[in-house]
């Protein structure tokens, strides 16, 4: 086995036993990136010098017997909307193409404290708006299973990198499915934690009330470990909750006996691809075999989630993205006579069409005369959806749905039709509306050889249940025997 094929927890053991060095490991990744990222195009920028320096430092500490974090020296890739000091944070936008952050996001600080090695920044849909990574202002990322297909989005770079062994694990962010949907399309494990579990400080905001950072990993164990490393209350984020720190690896138990799993019928019906539907029913059956109680249930109000999502997310985005005005940092037009020109032209030239579409939509729904009909109404429906989830979680430990209604689609297939693209998130968006945690677990390949994933959803701050059920499934199946083939492309 090649070094880059191991999971992070396997690598940690090898580092601990001094079977390998962090420098060796880091170099192996950069070699792999040089070999494969030309096809995948997951990375926007690399941090090779810094990474190798850090790796050597960690090796030195280890050889001197100094205490280091359990995962010290393990590389990690970061979605390009999280700030790292003295490093470009572009959000894959022309607007921030040359923006260098003078500070670290809280998640970066936490990984720094553990001496992890940052490989580089990963491509995404511009400002995390999209489901295919095609709205990146720089280039499109390709799905390692079929290079002619999208990796999903918006954390397409983060998911593709893990699938293609370009990083052992990565961080993504999820506002309406941006971790889970690309994880599903790329056949990796992706978790969106409960809103408030991971600090958002230093994550460039898209929709503040929905954004969450989470891990994208090769397996469930790594997911629990990376969540351990990044979660916890942060004084710099008023929306991060003050809770006792948990050890999620304790939930990695191979046993689901007696767990109650609800299967909302709306997500195995219309609009879901037949093969995906079948796969989900097989997963349900597998859980029953393993001792869980699986029951069909209903989340009828879930059908409003996409509408609610596009109102709330766009409203918040229209305000959050106001600061990109060409005055202090970021892109500034060269064509201006007065202040209004600076605003108008910088924003017209600096933002791509999807970002503009959402800013316009969000501005509209907050305008006087429309606020009550759209924004206020959407907030009310949001409460209704939360209540519906609450009712379901009185009966069930977990809900099981597809993560994506389809497997990876062709590049360009949906990019000209925004509404169709928005439907790529119908299974994931309701979870963000509810503020709940949800995880994608890959389960099988479809007839085209593309990964299918299922989603487990729990009540707020009950990630333990997800980890337990996901781990049990993983232990009793073998999706990871499949490897992406990098087929298609221009070869």
């Amino acid at each position: 086995m090649k070094l880059y094929e191991y999971t992070a927890h396997e690598l940690a053991e090898m580092l601990d036993k001094k079977e390998i060095s962090s420098e060796e490991l880091t170099k192996a990744y950069y070699d792999r990136i040089r070999e494969k990222d030309g096809e995948v195009k997951a990375y926007v920028s690399l941090m090779e010098d810094k990474a190798l320096k850090r790796a050597k430092q960690v090796d030195e500490k280890r050889s001197k017997g100094e205490t280091v974090g359990k995962y010290a020296g393990i590389p990690v890739g970061i979605k390009d909307n999280m700030c790292i000091t003295n490093t470009k944070t572009t959000c894959s936008s022309k607007m921030l193409e040359n923006f260098v952050s003078p500070y670290n996001a809280t998640v970066i600080e936490k990984l720094n404290d553990e001496d992890l090695v940052f490989l580089g920044k990963l491509n995404m849909d511009e400002f995390a708006m999209g489901s295919s990574t095609e709205t990146s202002a720089f280039f499109k990322t390709h799905n390692p299973w079929d290079l002619d297909r999208v990796p999903g989005g918006s954390s397409g770079g983060s998911a593709a990198a893990v699938a293609a062994d370009l990083a052992p694990w990565t961080l993504g962010s999820d506002t309406g499915g941006s971790i889970r949907q690309p994880s599903s399309l790329c056949g990796v494990v992706g978790l969106k934690p409960t809103y408030g579990l991971v600090s958002r400080y230093g994550l460039v905001a898209f929709a503040s009330s929905l954004d969450q950072i989470g891990p994208i990993t090769k397996d469930v164990t790594d997911s629990a470990i990376l969540l351990n490393l990044i979660s916890g209350h942060d004084e710099k984020d008023s929306t991060s909750l003050k809770l006792e720190k948990k050890d999620y690896t304790k939930s990695l138990v191979n046993d689901v006996k007696g767990m109650r799993i609800g299967l909302p019928k709306e997500y195995i019906g219309e609009g879901i691809n037949e093969e995906v539907k079948e796969a989900i029913l097989e997963v349900a059956k597998k859980y029953e075999e393993m001792g869980a109680i699986v029951e069909e249930c209903s989340l009828d109000v879930g059908k409003y989630a996409t509408a609610v999502y596009y109102i709330i997310a766009c409203a918040e985005a229209s305000s959050n993205l106001g600061r990109f005005d060409g005055i202090r940092y970021g892109y500034r037009t060269e064509k201006f006579e007065n202040l209004k020109d600076i605003y108008k032209n910088s924003r017209s030239e600096g933002f791509g069409p999807e970002v503009k579409r959402r800013i316009i939509l969000g501005t509209y729904v907050l305008s006087s005369g429309y606020y009550d009909a759209y924004y206020k109404k959407a907030q009310k429906v949001r409460t209704v959806i939360k209540d519906a989830y609450n009712d379901l979680f009185k009966k069930y430990d977990l809900l099981l749905t597809p993560t994506s209604p389809t497997t990876a689609f062709k590049m360009g297939e949906k990019s000209s039709n925004p509404l169709e693209m928005y439907l790529a998130d119908i299974c994931t968006v309701p979870v963000n509306i509810g503020g709940l945690p949800g995880m994608n677990i890959p389960c099988k390949l479809d007839s085209k050889g593309l990964p299918i994933g299922f989603q487990l959803i729990s009540n707020s701050f009950e990630e333990e249940k997800i980890f337990r059920a996901a781990y049990t499934y993983e232990q009793n199946t073998n999706f990871r025997a499949n490897k992406p083939e990098f087929k298609g492309g221009d070869k």
Binding site: N81, M82, C83, T89, C91, L96, F99, S101, P102, Y103, A105, R200, Y201, G202, L203, V204, A205, A207, S208, S209, E235, K236, D237, S238, T239, A315, E316, S318, S319, G322, R323, F324, D325, I327, R328, Y329, L339, Y343, T363, L366, S367, S368, Y371, Y375
Partner: protein
Amino acid sequence: MAREDYEMIIGLEVHCELSTKTKIFCSCPTEFGGEPNTHCCPICMALPGTLPVLNEKVVEYAVKAGLATNCSIAKNSKNDRKNYFYPDLPKAYQISQYDLPLCYDGYVTIDTPKGEKKIRLERIHIEEDAGKLNHDEYGRGSFVDLNRAGVPLIEVVSRPDLRSAEEVESYMRKLKSIFEYIEVSDCKMQEGSLRADVNVSVRKKGTEKLGTRTEMKNMNSFRSIVRAVEYEANRQIDLIEEGGTVTQETLRWDDVSGKTFPMRDKEDAQDYRYFPDPDLAPIRLSDEYIENLRNNLPELPESRRKRYLEDYKLSEKAANFTVQSKYYSNLFEDAIKVCDNPKSVSNMIMSDIARILNEKEEEPDEIPFTGEDLGELVKLIDDGKISSAIAKKVLEEMFENPKKPSKIVEEKGWIQISDEGEIKKIVLEILENNPQSIADYKAGKDRALGYLVGQAMKATKGKANPQLLNKLFLEELNK
């Protein structure tokens, strides 16, 4: 109809910077001044990815302001975003409060020629200040200074209860005084920490319907506010009298020409697209929290006034004057710890100190000496060490060159002559040189005595003890 047939209707939005040590959403200092962009951090510069965290002191200060102005305090409140583009507003939204202000339905009382009047407050809410634009005088562009961005403000919105420029001034002075007393703001107008948006409309006396109002923004001196209100009300009356109509608009007051002008940038009505800030949790206050602040509020001017009337037997006028400013009142209280003459102290504040400040165009917070110094000065008079005429000169000196009064008197050689022998010598000398006055006095012209005393004062440069002079002149003249 004449101008007198109209009345003006005025409402104020007063912005007052709170004197918390740090900004409202980050830990940068609120200190005034400093090189541009040195009191800021990624948060108040609105760098991508940063988040606000509400400074709890800001809530505390605002609640105190509400309690001191008889407001109800909201137990459930929140922060909202007010969205607009301007280079001094780095986030492109100001975090303010929209429909759930921290404090609401209060009032303050002001003195008017017709007696006390209640001015109702609609609300007090918290918000962040914007930065400042410095326009290059050589036309090389404008520069953004974010030192002030994120400094906490309260906005106090009055009902349209004010009816004259004088009422506007007393209302603002009253707010300033209250906020100074409870120590939530230093209210320094010259540093922009107290400013007002003034809404003015006019209507014919006896009618109910409000006229169309105009708004003058960011007024920051009492003098300009008074002038601007008078100018604007008259402009509106004249316009109506000429058959025109007032347009609702935002105006800029120009202090030099003494006129108002429409603001340039008002092409389209602003839609601020307020919505609750998703980065901040709702503000929830317990009854205990509010009651605790209420019970620990510093003594307010009204209560001090009562004490001054009862304990120190000050006149109504003197008591009102002394409590109008925390600085006067504290000066008074510190002074009477040193001397035992409250009436003289308050007189000196009301006549001499107020006059000097007025001449210097300064505010009471700029008095350069302490209450103890003032007390010592009054004591010097009471002990017969200096005359009250000399005391005025000492006071002037204390403003210019703050030293202990006794030290000034000593250095200047202003000690009063109270030695009877010495004074007698002066009296005899003056009498010898003024035979006509003696004759006048004997002929019943009492004014002659005043003249003689005046001559003696002149000869001693005001240092002679006036009581002694009087006594000795009378003795000599009546021999």
